[in-house]
Structures are given as structure tokens and as C-alpha cells.
Subunit: 374 residues, 2 copies
């Protein structure tokens, strides 16, 4: 019986366990929160990630350790890796935890990113604004997620307020890219180096939080998919990565040519919200794929099964009976208590054609919008 | 938070929980075995079904109770139903637990079954053999499953040996039907009376244990499906049933006409092994469908998604890496220790056409056969 340890016990961990039980796996989660989504259906060690003795006790008897959020302390991952195989490799955590290191990593591979500059002082912020121009986004280099720790600058005069809000942490100023749309690619690399890439998803955010993913991305071309897969493959190989990696992309229209270009926004060294559609919409879900990869099992097919839309449930959820009455709708609740701005679940709608997806998706979007107002 | 209690903690319970967590449900299992498949990922009350105080304690705080095996004592189900809604209704348990009551139930609806007679004494066995003819099968009326508690009689002289083996329990003699093939239909009825029927599955048994299901059943016609759905609908309505019901059928060629006829072999008032293919092969799995039904949620579509074959893993399982390398193969292990004759898991192979299913199914059958010999 193989037991997998997971650092973090949120919904991503929960969905990893749901995908892993059919493979005969057992799970143990390390998560400080008492009422963690993954704790409802697996062994739960309630503790943080900083105490070496806790980490040793957690690792005892585990066959493998992975993680479900990217802000695991790298030191903890390295300590665990000395006892038990840890995948994805800690160097991927390190590259993903610092927005400057992350963008520098992609640029070192010749992959385009939005313009950026590290900012440590008000003077550096002023200099960066001159170089990068406006509008721009000032972000903390570390620990930002779902739009937290960000300040949009639209005029030079915003610099003081931005600094007042975020100054004190190491920061990054990013050029505000006029993108045509946001895409993401979820890809996996096995222990043997095999790579499988899912079709691109098109993502819609509001207030910095993912609201809707459409997959395969509407209007995607083989050339666009190939461009995204080249980026994913380069990153996976450069990091000697094992597991699922998600890369968020901006698609921009190049003025000088007809070809669309992709810029890397950021990566997540884990299963990703924009890949939840794969549970019903792909031959192999991203959760099973991650487990296959880290366990050294063959990767599954990443091909789409029809067309899917994933709608996040933020702060509230609609009546399950109404959701389940919509043809092709699949409800995923995470067992979390409602709280404003919190990801409580998602709904995936799947159909055999984009046209057949339209009506049920509109029905779900209306239910979700009503629940958010109610 | 809705908490569902399940009587029994085997693989069917485990798969119910795996389907129910995404609906935001919690689970509590009542199961005497220590290392139960469902106990790995849900609350597990380790006790039997006969002690009223245990049943009361188990029911406390539950919103609903269902069961995952049909040999739950009816008295236990009735005691629980006085406190908490119990679905499917205890009268369905009662009808399914006694092979004579079960066949009489179908005959009372005008639905054909193989010829049968209740047998309580050697003289009754002799009389039944005269009436029903040879070959015939003597079975215990209660508690038989997977071919256990059965004796095939091929000659009148076998009667003594059959009686010696099974005599003492209430018995049934069933005529040995020369069927063209074995089919099953899995159907669900909601609290509101809505009914959804899955496509027929074709089933292959060996040593009395299901080995392989193909769904939708190859060569099935709309008329055959409609005939099976009429049987399922009559049974569901007559029992005022709520939940998933499986009915095993024999398809026989009527000599007098071109139309194939269906005889009911038996029913199971629960999710069923011949419906496991629905996890990947149908829009809604039988496990989610059962939970939708008993919770009073709308039933999901029972339509097939392509073509599926489900292969049981009996007593052993092949190397997971070899299984997962087969395109379209999905592994389901139940977390059970290997033992001869024990259902340890299943593999579903899914493809978009029967032709595309052929090669991966043959590959899986070869792996499974080798594992059984090794």
C-alpha cells in the first residue's frame, strides 16, 4: 500500500486524494487548518511547515511527498526530500515563489514575459515606472495569490499610495500588458521525462480571482497549442520537473505579423484551478495525472473529451438541485464554510460541441451570479 | 453539511463516497470489518447491524441512511427508518433478500423469470425437479452472492448431493435457462418519481463471479433497451423505490418469433458491479446517481459516453504501470488485501467506438489473465 504525503490540505489536496484512492493510494495531509477540505477524507496531521520534528514525524512511513500549494517553505521541502522522494522538485518551488526569479527563469529560456523590474525602494519604483511605463502593476515578489498583494498604477502620482500599501516587502513592478486574452496550459512530466500537455484553457478573472475557464480554448489553433507546449516543455525540462505544472499566459496580437504571441505571466508548480475542467473534460484528470507522474507511472492521455467550461464558486454557491438539473453540469464542492472571496467549489459543464455547451453554460452562469448576489 | 450514513463499508460504499464528496457530502459507514475499503476515507463505525443501541448511535446526526449491500437485516433498516430517512425503502431489501420473494415479485408484475420452486425438504426437491426439469440450479433463498450457496444439478442422481450440500437452509430450485447472453440494467428513481435508465450492459461471469461487462451492450437495439426499461420502471414503481436498482437479465431467443425476450434473473437494491463502467462511460456515474436520487436531487443523464468495458480484478491485480500504459484504461483498486476469489478492483476501458475499444480491451484482458495466473 503506497501512502502519499501532501503538504497543504485545501481543495487541491482533496481532489488529489479523490483521484488517488482509485489507484489504491492512501494519503496523509500536513495542514495547519483544523477544518481542511482534505481532512474530511484522509489522515490529517494538523501542524505547520516550519518545525523540523513535525516534518520528520509527518514523513515517517510515507512513500512519497508532494504539495498542493506553492508557498511551502523550500527549507521544509528540502528537509523532507532528504528522507522521502519529494516531487515536484524543490527547485521548482524556489523558482515559482519569487515573481522576479520566476520571470527571470522564463527569460533565461528565451521565453517572453511582460516587462518587469525588481523594486526595493521608492527610488527604484520611480526608476522602474520610467522604464516600464504606465499602467503597471506593483506586486509583492512572494506569497501573492488570487490578486492579493497587488496595486495597479495608472498614473505617476499613484506611486506613493502603492508604496504605502506594499512597501516593506520585496516588490516587482510589471508592465500592464494589453493582452487579447488570458490562457493557461497545464502539463505534466513523468519521472522518465515523458511529457503530456492538456489543451489550452481560456481564463476569465474578476477581482484577481479566476472565475471561468473554457477548454479547449475557443478558436485555438494547432500553432497556438504548439507554441504553448513548447513553452511548457522548455520549463519542465529546465526544472527537471516531475508532476503537473501550470503556466498562465497572455495572448497578445503582434502588430507586425498575423501570428499571435504568448507571454508567460506566471507558473504554479502544482495542479491548478484552470485545470479543474480535466476531471470531466479530459481523458485523464490533472489530479490523476499529477499522481501518475510523481509515482513514476505512465502518464495518461491529456486529450479533451468534448468541450468544457469551469465556473468557480466564490463566497457562495447556488442550490445544488438547480445546478444538477442543468444538462452536463458537474458540481464540485470543497466542504468549506462560506466566506466572502473564498473559493468554495466549482462547476464544470461539459458537452460534445461548443454549440451544445452554450445553453447549459449560460444557465450555470446565471445561477452562480444570482448566488453571489443572494 | 449533509452527512450520509451507509450500511456496509466495502468497495461500493467507497465509490459512493468518492462520488459524494464533490457534492459536498460527508459519510459515515457502519461496517464490522476493521480494514474496510470505505473506512480508509470516511468516518467508520466498526460494528455489526444487529444491536439496537449501536444503530441508534450510528444514526445520531445523520441526515440520511442508505446501504451498499442487500443483506442488511430488514429489522435494522426499519429501526433506522424510524429516526432518519432510509433509501432505498426497506421493502425493497425485503423483496431482494429472498430469491423466492424476488421472483414472485417480478411474476406478480407480469415479468418473466426462469421457472422456480421453493424447496424445503428432499421430497419437495424431487417434486420440483420433475416439474422444472434438468439441468437446474439449487440455491439458498438467502445470503447467496457471487455464486456462493449454489449447486448445479445435471441428473436426477445429483439431488442427494445437492441436498447434502445445501439442505437445512430454505432453498429454491431454478430452471437452467438456455440464454443467449446475460444482460443487466441499472436504473434510478428519484424521490419525485423521476426515472433514469442506463444503457444495458452485457455481462460475462466465471465461477459465478462477474468478470467482464460491455456497455452499451453490443448489438443492443432500441427495442431491447425499451423492453429492459419497461421491466426496470415497473419494478421501481411497484417498490416505490428511491435510489439505484440493478436488474440482472437473461436474453433468450424466442423460437416462435424473431423478437428476443428478457427474463429477470435477480435484482440488487443498490449500486451494482455491472454499473461500474458508468464512472467513465456515462454522463453521470451510478454512484453519483444513487446519491442524487436518495438526496432528492435531480437525476443526471444516464447516457453513455462512448463505449466501455469493465474488467473485474479477482484475487490479484496486474502491475498498475502496465494497466495505465493502455490507452483509455482506468484503474480502480479498492484498498483490499489480496485473497483468492476476492474482488480487489476493476479496470474500465473506454473508447469512442466499439472498434477503438477492441485493442485496449484485449491488452487489459491479457494483463488481468496473467495476473490471475501469476
Amino acid at each position: 500500500m503506497t501512502t502519499v504525503g501532501i503538504l497543504g490540505g485545501g481543495q487541491l489536496g482533496r481532489m488529489l486524494a479523490l483521484a488517488g484512492y482509485p489507484l489504491g493510494l492512501r494519503f496523509r495531509f500536513l495542514e495547519p487548518a483544523a477544518d481542511a477540505p482534505a481532512g474530511h477524507m484522509a489522515e490529517h496531521t494538523r501542524a505547520g511547515y516550519d518545525d523540523p520534528a513535525t516534518l520528520d514525524a509527518f514523513a515517517a512511513g510515507l512513500d512519497l511527498i508532494s504539495y498542493e500549494f506553492e508557498n511551502v517553505p523550500v527549507a521544509a521541502a528540502r528537509q523532507l526530500a532528504a528522507r522521502v522522494p519529494v516531487y515536484p522538485p524543490p527547485q521548482a518551488l524556489e523558482a515559482a515563489q519569487d515573481r522576479v526569479a520566476e520571470k527571470s527563469f522564463f527569460q533565461s529560456l528565451g521565453i517572453a514575459t511582460p516587462p518587469f523590474a525588481a523594486v526595493g525602494t521608492p527610488a527604484e519604483l520611480d526608476a522602474a515606472l520610467v522604464r516600464i511605463g504606465l499602467p503597471a502593476v506593483l506586486k509583492t515578489r512572494r506569497l501573492g495569490y488570487d490578486g492579493k498583494g497587488q496595486f495597479v498604477l495608472r498614473a505617476r502620482e499613484d506611486a506613493a499610495a502603492a508604496w504605502a500599501t506594499l512597501g516593506g516587502s520585496p516588490l516587482i513592478l510589471e508592465g500592464f500588458v494589453r493582452f487579447a486574452r488570458e490562457l493557461s496550459i497545464v502539463a505534466a512530466r513523468g519521472r522518465d521525462g515523458a511529457i503530456a500537455c492538456y489543451p489550452l484553457a481560456e481564463n476569465y478573472h474578476r477581482d484577481g480571482i479566476l472565475r471561468l475557464s473554457l477548454a479547449p480554448a475557443p478558436g485555438g489553433t494547432p500553432a497556438l497549442q504548439a507554441a504553448a507546449e513548447r513553452i511548457a516543455t522548455q520549463a519542465l525540462e529546465a526544472l527537471d520537473y516531475v508532476g503537473v505544472l501550470a503556466i498562465e499566459l497572455f495572448q497578445v496580437e503582434e502588430p507586425a505579423s498575423a501570428a499571435p504571441a504568448l507571454l508567460v505571466n506566471e507558473m504554479a508548480p502544482r495542479v491548478h484551478n484552470s485545470g479543474h475542467w480535466t476531471i470531466e473534460g479530459a481523458e485523464t484528470s490533472q489530479f490523476e495525472q499529477h499522481l501518475r507522474a510523481v509515482l513514476g507511472l505512465p502518464l495518461g492521455s491529456a486529450a479533451a473529451r468534448g468541450h468544457a467550461a469551469m465556473v468557480n464558486l466564490i463566497g457562495a454557491w447556488p442550490d445544488p438541485a438547480a445546478v444538477l438539473a442543468v444538462p452536463g453540469a458537474h458540481l464540485h464542492l470543497y466542504g468549506k464554510a462560506p466566506r466572502a472571496g473564498r473559493k468554495l467549489g466549482h462547476i464544470t459543464v461539459r458537452a460534445d460541441s461548443p454549440a451544445a455547451l452554450e445553453a447549459p453554460l449560460q444557465a450555470i452562469l446565471a445561477l452562480v451570479a444570482a448566488s453571489e448576489q443572494g
